[in-house]
């Protein structure tokens, strides 16, 4: 559940022999592979909306806490730089990030500069055929080290699954103005086993708020 990278059916099959770097062009990369202390994630969603609108929603970094899991705050520190804070209970990690390529309506590439996370990522927006919306593809690379102890113990979720879930949240927010959430559903006593299974089901990771008010 939280271990395997689940490639979506829309993902293009990739040439296996390429040695290209991840940030060049997501479509001609070798399939994500974990080696040399790196974790890769790649996921695609078909989202109803124009590439321009979806780009704008993603690019508004200060709103990221509305749809990315456990992002407490993003402070814009420059045209292309921002400071990110992730929080769980009394544990906090922070890092600075910069946007290294920014093509409105097409793609955004970013990387962390310093701090508790070492990551780089790219999001690509492409119109789907026959007015079916926009394919949004996210590629991310994490270097394990601090990250493994920080993010994974913080979230209880493999960073790869976190990337998949965050794109799912982004799609729901873009299409519906909210993110589905069942975490406050009333229930009777769960017992010991039921409580343990909440974590197995990923239900202990707070669903991002999506909208700001009900």
């Amino acid at each position: 559940m939280s271990t395997a990278l689940n490639e979506k059916p829309n993902a293009e099959s990739l040439p296996a022999s390429s040695g290209a770097a991840i940030l060049q062009d997501g479509h001609y990369l070798a399939p994500p592979e974990d080696k040399d202390g790196k974790l890769w994630a790649r996921t695609t969603a078909l989202i109803q909306g124009s590439p321009d609108d979806l780009y704008a929603l993603w690019r508004a970094n200060e709103n990221t806490p509305l749809w990315q899991e456990q992002i407490e705050e993003v402070v814009i520190t420059g045209v292309n730089t921002s400071r990110w804070t992730m929080k769980d209970g009394d544990k906090t990690i922070t890092w600075n990030a910069e946007i290294v390529a920014d093509e409105p309506g097409k793609r955004i590439v970013w990387r962390s500069l310093d701090g508790d996370i070492n990551e780089a990522g790219e999001v690509i927006f492409e119109p789907a055929p026959a007015d079916r919306g926009t394919f949004v593809t996210v590629l991310m690379e994490f270097r394990i080290g601090k990250l493994a102890s920080a993010w994974e113990t913080l979230t209880g979720r493999n960073p790869k699954q976190g990337v998949i879930e965050n794109l799912r949240h982004f799609k729901a927010l873009a299409e519906t103005g909210e993110i589905p959430n069942s975490q406050t559903a009333p229930h009777g006593d769960r017992g010991v086993v039921g409580k343990m299974k909440r974590s197995l089901y990923g239900e202990t990771i707070p669903t991002p708020p999506g909208a700001t008010a009900v």
Binding site: Q48, N181, G188, G191, G194, A213
Partner: protein, 161 residues
């Protein structure tokens, strides 16, 4: 409260979570043949304490800020499938394939390969939502509940959908 064990308990009332939610005071609810799959343990990811019931009707008690087609006091039938109304599938009226309403879609992807819509009272992998065999339920994405017209026949029955 476990396989082959169902009981009535007092639990907290549901609350609005998202802007398109509505709280429904339930007047009629059904026990469905497919509840037996949950009761028997045939559908995985049912847990102790889960509230069943996926066919219910009632009176709108409270609506979220983005619900404009319903108001307090309206009588509604709530569909089993929770459908966002905006995704590619919903645009084609394939409501049960809505891909925006299951917060636990990753569980369905692991078990079935792909997730359908979230469902009321039908296991954690199909959303983890509380069902309608209760006094109140939180209904979601309520642009699509069927309005129950006045008339004794409709008011007195909740049909499996």
């Amino acid at each position: 409260m476990g396989t082959s064990k169902v009981e009535t308990l007092t639990v907290p009332d549901p609350e609005l979570v998202n802007p398109h939610d509505a709280i429904i005071k339930i007047t009629r609810t059904a026990i469905c043949g497919s509840d037996l799959h949950l009761y028997d343990g045939f559908i995985p990811t049912m847990e102790a304490g889960d509230i069943m019931g996926h066919e219910f009707m009632g009176i709108v008690e409270e609506v979220g800020k983005d619900v404009h087609n319903l108001k307090r006091g309206d009588r509604v039938v709530v569909p089993f499938t929770i459908a966002c109304g905006n995704c590619l599938f919903c645009k084609k009226k394939i409501w049960s394939a809505c891909d925006n309403t299951n917060p636990n879609a990753h569980l369905m992807e692991a078990a079935y390969g792909y997730s359908g819509s979230g469902l009321f009272g039908y296991s954690h992998m199909m959303g983890g939502y509380a069902g309608g065999q209760a006094q109140y339920a939180r209904a979601l994405r309520q642009r699509r509940p069927v309005e129950a017209r006045d008339g004794p026949a409709r008011r007195e029955s909740a049909l499996p959908l």
